[in-house]
Structure formats: structure tokens, C-alpha cells
């Protein structure tokens, strides 16, 4: 297992549900701090790795990958100690029945997501998908003990270790977007040996899954000249048109469309071609559901770019991707950063 794989495994397995990113933030800080000149955290918890550029007139580049993951929150303790819960971020309720979960209560509890079993349901009921309100978490403890340990608002995640699959593919929870954070690490590692004029702010952002909130405030605070978001995109699968997905292992997706500054899109493509990094073109006809959405309209407008890692089964606990794509994305970003100077930045507002 190489260092990137180990880093990704470690951060994917850690809890870090939107708004409660502290545990994963600590691991990210530990794994990346050696490659930055300065690490700081802003008021909402965005983790900012600053790497200084060379030269007098330095553009500021923001690279954003969100570290939060979707998860759940306890909403009510029922009689007999069953726990009701609500999603944090977008979840397909059908994918969570029968999942083992961890509840971050006064102590960490192990539970299972249950629902009325099939034997006591009618045929009609069985043909309907379970809804979230019908489900509950069972921690197999007496009510009194549950009430002592668990509070409304406690965080829940699906218990899942990263699984290594064929070739360089891996599967697990929270690959969206810890894989993007791993891309930031690869990028910083590459930058350690490249000359770059620009100051780099690599940010593990918070609360993307609940509405790109961390990127909104991080961009405002950093005031970058350019912002590139790193996120995941839908991988190829049967039943989905080819042009709506990216193939796993074939390199990062580079997005073009209204959300993306045309020159930034072109430049990412140019860099990919120059350094023989395979890439896949992605179109977004409307604002993307990524940090780039917030970056573009921060303050007086920030040119935004988007690099994506192909991933299957998004927002489930078996998100699957190819590590080769993570590494290629990191290299692409590093070479992109190395090519940016003030003249390039100045050219972005003259259209």
C-alpha cells in the first residue's frame, strides 16, 4: 500500500459528517502539514494549507476539496431505546437498511439500521421502498442506558472500512470527497519539487454536502485570484448514457460550462495534454453541485475551475474509484499551478 492509498484509507474511515468535521480534519492535518508552509483553520473549520510561491508578484490560487461526508443525526429517542434519525446531506434511504452504524454519543456505540421485518409486512408494503421515517437505529441497550448515553443531535455514520478491489480500485464511504483531499496531498507533494510563482491555498472545506457552505466563507476569507474545486463525478455504469459519466481509470474529468471560467478550462486541458495526463471532458450546463459553485460568485467574482475524480455509487457506503485517477488529478493540478503567473491571472478578466 503506498502512502496516498494509506492516507485515503485513513481519512475515509474517519468520521467527519458536515458540521462535525473535526475528527477527519485532525488526520488530514497530520497527513498534509509537512507539505505546507503554514496550516490554519478558519472560523467555520475550513482547514487551510498555505504554500508560498516564489517571486515578487504572486497570484493566489485556491484549491478546494471538501472533507465533510454525508451521515445522520439523532432526532429522537423512542420508547425501548430505539433511535430515530435524519440525514445530513443527500441520502438514498434504500441504501441504508441493514447497515451497521457508529453513533458518536457520550461513548461510541455500535448499532444497526432496522425497519419492520419482511415477515410482518404485507406484499404491498414489500413492493414499496423503505422510507427514512420508518427506519430506526437499534443499539441493543435498555432504554434507560440509551437515554443516559445518547443525545438528540448526536452524529451517526455508516461503519465501513475501505476495501481494496481489483487493480488500483478501492471502495468505501466518504470517498466523496476525501479522494479530493488526497488529490490536494498529491498536488502539494508534486509542488514540493516544482517551481511555482503562485501562493497556494489548498483547503479541505467543510459543509459542502449541505450546500457548499465552507467554500463560500473560505473563498471570501482567502480572496484568491483563481479557485479550482476538486470533487468526484459519476463513473460509467450500465443504463446511464456515456456522455453523462466519466470512465474509471481514464484520468480526471475537466469541466466546462457557465460555472467554469473558459480560460481556466482551456488551461487545464492544455496542461493535461502537455504532460500527457489523460483527461475526460465534462459539461455542466448549470452551476455545478461543487465548491466551484460558491467560488465563482464570491465577492467580485473569482474565476473557477473544476477537476473531478470518476466515482461510482455516489453517496453510498461503497463509493468506488480508481487510485490512478486520484494521482493523475493531483499531478494535473500541480502542473496547472506551476504554470500560473500574474499575466495569466490578469488575462482572466479581459473578455
Amino acid at each position: 500500500m503506498d502512502s496516498i492509498e494509506r492516507f485515503l484509507k485513513e481519512i475515509c474511515e474517519a468520521p467527519g459528517v458536515s458540521g462535525y468535521e473535526q475528527p477527519v480534519a485532525q488526520l488530514i492535518k497530520a497527513g498534509m502539514r509537512d507539505y505546507a508552509d503554514e496550516v490554519r483553520e478558519d472560523r467555520l473549520g475550513n482547514l487551510i494549507f498555505f504554500k508560498k510561491g516564489t517571486g515578487e508578484n504572486r497570484p493566489r490560487i485556491l484549491l478546494a476539496a471538501h472533507m465533510d461526508e454525508i451521515g445522520f443525526m439523532i432526532t429522537k429517542i423512542e420508547e425501548n431505546g430505539f433511535l430515530r434519525f435524519a440525514p445530513v446531506g443527500g441520502i438514498d434511504p434504500r441504501t441504508i437498511v441493514g447497515q451497521e452504524v457508529l453513533i458518536y454519543a457520550k461513548e461510541r456505540l455500535h448499532g444497526v439500521i432496522g425497519a419492520k421485518p419482511p415477515h410482518v409486512t404485507s406484499d404491498e408494503e414489500r413492493n414499496k421502498a423503505y422510507e427514512l421515517e420508518e427506519m430506526f437505529i437499534d443499539v441493543a441497550l435498555p432504554e434507560e442506558r440509551v437515554r443516559k448515553l445518547v443525545s438528540v443531535g448526536d452524529i451517526v455514520i455508516i461503519k465501513r472500512e475501505v476495501i481494496k478491489l481489483a487493480g488500483s480500485t478501492v471502495s468505501g464511504k466518504a470517498m466523496d470527497d476525501r479522494a479530493g483531499v488526497a488529490v490536494l496531498l498529491v498536488c502539494l507533494q508534486e509542488l514540493a519539487r516544482l517551481q511555482h510563482c503562485a501562493d497556494v491555498y489548498a483547503v479541505a472545506t467543510v459543509q459542502e454536502e449541505v450546500g457548499v457552505r465552507g467554500a463560500t466563507t473560505a473563498t471570501y476569507g482567502i480572496v484568491p485570484d483563481i479557485g479550482v474545486a476538486v470533487d468526484v463525478t459519476h463513473g460509467d455504469m450500465p443504463g446511464v448514457p456515456e456522455h453523462e459519466t466519466c470512465r474509471l481509470g481514464k484520468g480526471p474529468g475537466i469541466t466546462i460550462g457557465p460555472n467554469i471560467h473558459p480560460t481556466l478550462g482551456e488551461e487545464l486541458i492544455r496542461v493535461a495534454k502537455e504532460y500527457n495526463i489523460p483527461y475526460q471532458l465534462e459539461t455542466a450546463a448549470r452551476p455545478t453541485g461543487t465548491d466551484a459553485r460558491a467560488i465563482q460568485v464570491s465577492r467580485g467574482g473569482i474565476p473557477a475551475g473544476l477537476v473531478s475524480i470518476p466515482l461510482r455509487y455516489m453517496h453510498t457506503s461503497v463509493e468506488l474509484l480508481d487510485l490512478a485517477d486520484v494521482k493523475m488529478s493531483g499531478r494535473l493540478l500541480a502542473y496547472f499551478v506551476a504554470a500560473v503567473d500574474m499575466a495569466f491571472v490578469e488575462g482572466l478578466s479581459c473578455c
Binding site: 457557465p258 471560467h261 459539461t283 448549470r286 452551476p287 460568485v297 465577492r299 473569482i302 474565476p303 473578455c351
Partner: protein, 344 residues
């Protein structure tokens, strides 16, 4: 005629360059300063240093399509940019990409459709753009993934003083703004031709942040549903009845003092006006009014039938009256200041 040129220019959200250069050429002799920003807004400034500072805005972008894939046969797969009614797409001529390659939107001929198929609207997934090529290779020589697709239609005068053409939403507003910027006022005026309104008011907030005005006027085109089969209660606006003043939409509720300013001005100058009688949809004012400490805004619209289609209809009296009303409001601000007393 500027309005005709603007309407016929291609400028789908995110690809407003043609419209921007047209406006730049039109206004360069009138502006003290002409700039753009990174998202593509065009700023035209006059009366620098005067008070108060007022921003005027109209969006350059129009709804359209984007190329997302190729069929082996050379047909193009597309997706919508902005709020298109997919039912109006079929059988329309279009242009694709920077070179404006002509094409048509095709679908299975009615002869080949089963009776039940014929009742269903044609979804965008079942529509293709045909460039007349024989293969994907040929198509790729002409256009590329991510290319914007705009309706192709020319402007014509029809009926009694009406204009038929595409994209009056919001090129009619752009034309109003351009005409207003040609006049002189004792105010610091920044006319902003904004981008990406149709994909979520993306340009206007950025512009308002940069300009930081004390008040803003937005020129729009808004639905006129004064057509057969619609009850009067659902007309929203009627063409020929004068500029429409917005009271409320999904993005914005107009401060009473701004409504009063518009109404008083219209009445004083004898300009017909109407209220926009719908509370949904949004305009750039939604973003502008929420920028910085809050910017009092006003939306004045030209009523427009068949909005977001390749053939939209406006009345030229409404257009002229919108220009008159806009100038009258600026004159009123010049004379009496901004109408937000008692606030800090």
C-alpha cells in the same frame, strides 16, 4: 436598430461574448469607463464621483442548449441551458458553437410515431441537433463538446407596432439600458450588462459587489400571458399596457418606497404602467438587493409573450415607455435623492 441587432446576436448563458462586444461598440463613445470582470459582466460608467451612485442592470444571456455528446451518425446530443420549455424545441433552426454552424432540431417524424407517442411532449433526451453531416467524425470537425446552441431567428415587425424575435428576455432590457446610458444625469451611473441570469442570477451579485451602489434599477422582460385560453387573473402582464413594475417575485420583494418612486414618476410623466401580477420566478434584483448591507432595488419589465421560446413578442410602445420611465426615475433621483428616509 440596436434592439434588432441585440436580439439576433447569439449569447446563451456562459457565452455572452457576442452581445458584450456589440454593446461595447455601441456605448464606448458615451462611457467614461468601460470594463469587464472575470465572470463576463460589462460595466459602463458615467458621472464618476457624483452622488448618489446608482447601478442599472440588464442581463445579456439567453436560454439555449449545450452540446454534450455525439451519436455515431453525427447527430448531436444536447442539454438545456436555463429554463427552457422542452415542448417548444422541436423543429427549430439553431446555430452551434463559436462558428455558428447551422443546424435543426429534429425528432422522429409523426408518421413513425405510435398514436400514444404523439400525445407526449418530446423530452430533450429524444431530440437531436442535425447538422446535415453523415458521421461523428464529420460533426467533430464542425463543433465540439461544450459548444453552446442558440435559436436562430431574425427580428420582424408584425401587427400593430409589435416586434417578433428571439431573446427579448433580456435583450430588450439591454437595449433600454443602452439607451438610458446615452443620456446624461447628475448621478454616478454604472450600467451593468450581466451574465448568467438564466442559470441562477450568477452575474448580478458579483457586479453589485464590485459597484457597491446605493440603489439599483433592473430592466427585464417578463411574461405576458394575455393570450387565448388564459383568464384575466392569470395574465401576469398585458402587452401594450406599459412597463410592468415588480412588487414581488421568488427572489425579491420591492421596498414600498421604490414602488412609490416608480408609480409617482409614471403618473407625473403620464406614462402608462402596470404591476407584474405574478409572485414567482426571479431576476437579477434578487442577488443585487442582497449584496453588501442590502441595496434597494426596482425591477421594470417589458411585457413579452412566449418568453424563452425562439419567437417572442413585445410591443414597441412598451419598449419606448420603459426607456421614458427609466429616465424619469433617474431624473427624480437626481432632483429628490433616493427615497429611503429614516434609515442609516
Amino acid at each position: 436598430m440596436l434592439l434588432k441587432k441585440l436580439s439576433e446576436a447569439y449569447g446563451v448563458s456562459g457565452d455572452e461574448g457576442n452581445v458584450r462586444s456589440l454593446l461595447r461598440t455601441e456605448l464606448q463613445d458615451y462611457a467614461e469607463e468601460l470594463t469587464t470582470d472575470s465572470i463576463g459582466n460589462l460595466y459602463v460608467k458615467k458621472g464618476l464621483g457624483k452622488k448618489p451612485r446608482v447601478m442599472l442592470a440588464a442581463h445579456m444571456d439567453e436560454v439555449g442548449l449545450m452540446v454534450v455528446g455525439f451519436e455515431k451518425s453525427g447527430l448531436l446530443r444536447v442539454t438545456a441551458v436555463g429554463g427552457l420549455d422542452h415542448r417548444v424545441l422541436v423543429s427549430k433552426p439553431v446555430v452551434v458553437g463559436n462558428n455558428h454552424v447551422p443546424g435543426v432540431i429534429g425528432a422522429k417524424a409523426i408518421h413513425l410515431q405510435k398514436p400514444q407517442e404523439r400525445k407526449k411532449p418530446l423530452e430533450i433526451d429524444n431530440l437531436y441537433i442535425d447538422l446535415g453531416v453523415q458521421s461523428q467524425e464529420e460533426a467533430e470537425k464542425l463543433v465540439k463538446i461544450g459548444d453552446y446552441v442558440a435559436f436562430r431567428s431574425s427580428v420582424n415587425e408584425i401587427g400593430e407596432n409589435c416586434l417578433l424575435g428571439k431573446a427579448f428576455d433580456d435583450r430588450a432590457g439591454c437595449a433600454v439600458l443602452a439607451e438610458v446610458m446615452k443620456a446624461d444625469f447628475d448621478l454616478e451611473l454604472t450600467g451593468v450588462f450581466t451574465v448568467q441570469e438564466e442559470v441562477g442570477l450568477r452575474g448580478a451579485g458579483v457586479a453589485a459587489f464590485n459597484v457597491h451602489p446605493e440603489a439599483a434599477l433592473v430592466f427585464e422582460a417578463t411574461s405576458a400571458a394575455d393570450v387565448a385560453g388564459t383568464k384575466e387573473a392569470g395574465h401576469v402582464t398585458q402587452i401594450g399596457q406599459g412597463p410592468a413594475i415588480t412588487i414581488m417575485d421568488s427572489s425579491f420583494i420591492t421596498p414600498q418606497y421604490m414602488i412609490d418612486l416608480a408609480v409617482k414618476t409614471a403618473e407625473k410623466l403620464g406614462i402608462p404602467y402596470q404591476f407584474r401580477r405574478l409572485t414567482t420566478a426571479g431576476t437579477d434584483a434578487g442577488q443585487i438587493s442582497q449584496t453588501h448591507e442590502g441595496i434597494p432595488s426596482l425591477v421594470i419589465s417589458i411585457p413579452c409573450r412566449y418568453i424563452h421560446s425562439p419567437a417572442t413578442l413585445i410591443n414597441l410602445d412598451d419598449y419606448q415607455n420603459t426607456i421614458r420611465l427609466a429616465k424619469g426615475i433617474l431624473k427624480a433621483i437626481e432632483e429628490g435623492g433616493l427615497p429611503c428616509e429614516g434609515t442609516a
